[in-house]
């Protein structure tokens, strides 16, 4: 029962719980807040995985960027009437059932084949202490092309968003 186990358990529970809350809340802003909590918890799990860089990226980009965007839009389009409407669509029971079925299936898959994940025991090999250096190295040496492609993708998305959100299209 070492520290990182405690941390993992804490973050995992936090993440799942707030995820569930996120899906079930009636008020969108609350959902957003809970999603933020989930993301932060995920970030915590990254930290517990000794991936500081990803932790920071997760916080800055996801929480500090994307979710701010979400909150912003939510506040722009927030309608009080929608609070009193039905929050779930007609297919909710079937959908929930199917979703859970999918989860169960994957769980079954893990249950059956989990032991066949032949991985070196993580304890044996530690990540390099300078995590961000290692990432930068890998990113700009072996993954240059994907990196560029991703930047192009971002550019396109940006233009698309601007065009989409202009008052008069």
């Amino acid at each position: 029962m070492t520290v990182d186990k405690i941390l993992f358990a804490f973050f995992a529970v936090l993440a799942v719980a707030s995820a569930v809350l996120m899906v079930t809340r009636r008020n969108i802003v609350h959902s957003a807040v809970f999603l933020i909590t989930t993301l932060l918890a995920t970030a915590g799990i990254f930290l517990e995985l000794q991936a500081e860089f990803l932790f920071v990226v997760q916080v800055i980009l996801y929480v500090g960027g994307i979710m701010v965007l979400f909150v912003f839009v939510i506040m722009l389009v927030n309608l009080d009437v929608s609070l009193h409407m039905l929050q779930f669509n007609r297919q909710r029971f079937v959908a929930a059932a199917l979703g859970l079925a999918l989860g169960a299936q994957v769980f079954f898959a893990l249950w059956v084949g989990g032991h066949s994940l032949r991985l070196p025991s993580g304890a044996s090999l530690q990540l390099p202490p300078k995590n961000s250096e290692a990432i930068g190295d890998a990113l700009f040496r072996h993954y240059m092309l994907p990196f560029e492609i991703a930047s192009i993708l971002l550019l396109v998305a940006m233009i698309g968003a601007v065009v989409m959100a202009k008052r008069k299209v």
């Binding site: 994307i66 929608s82 859970l100 893990l110 993580g122 993708l153 998305a157």
Partner: protein, 100 residues
């Protein structure tokens, strides 16, 4: 040392919640957020495996996925804004222009 399966289970749980959320919520914004949730589940998987293998490639892919999520969120929210301006609604089952 936390076993790998734990991370997998965690990401599975998040995935399931996300899928269910996408499927049952009427509000498009929440659907988008659920999608973000799914992406996060994927990220957790990647991170866990990268930790287990002791290299950073999983993290690279996680970065790409985050990039992707950013792009997707930007465009999706843009669409939602435009739609909201025209139809005064953000409910998925009121967006039925494609119905036959």
């Amino acid at each position: 040392m936390v076993p790998l399966e734990a991370y997998l289970l965690l990401s599975l749980a998040l995935l399931t919640v996300g899928v269910v959320g996408v499927l049952i919520r009427r509000n498009v914004i929440i659907m988008l957020m659920s999608i973000e949730l799914i992406l996060n589940a994927v990220n957790i998987n990647l991170m866990a495996f990268s930790r287990a293998w002791g290299n950073v490639y999983g993290q690279i892919f996680a970065i790409f996925i985050i990039t992707d999520a950013a792009a997707e969120a930007a465009v999706g929210l843009g669409i939602i804004l435009a739609f909201f301006r025209n139809r005064e609604t953000v409910l998925a089952d009121e967006m039925d222009l494609l119905k036959w």
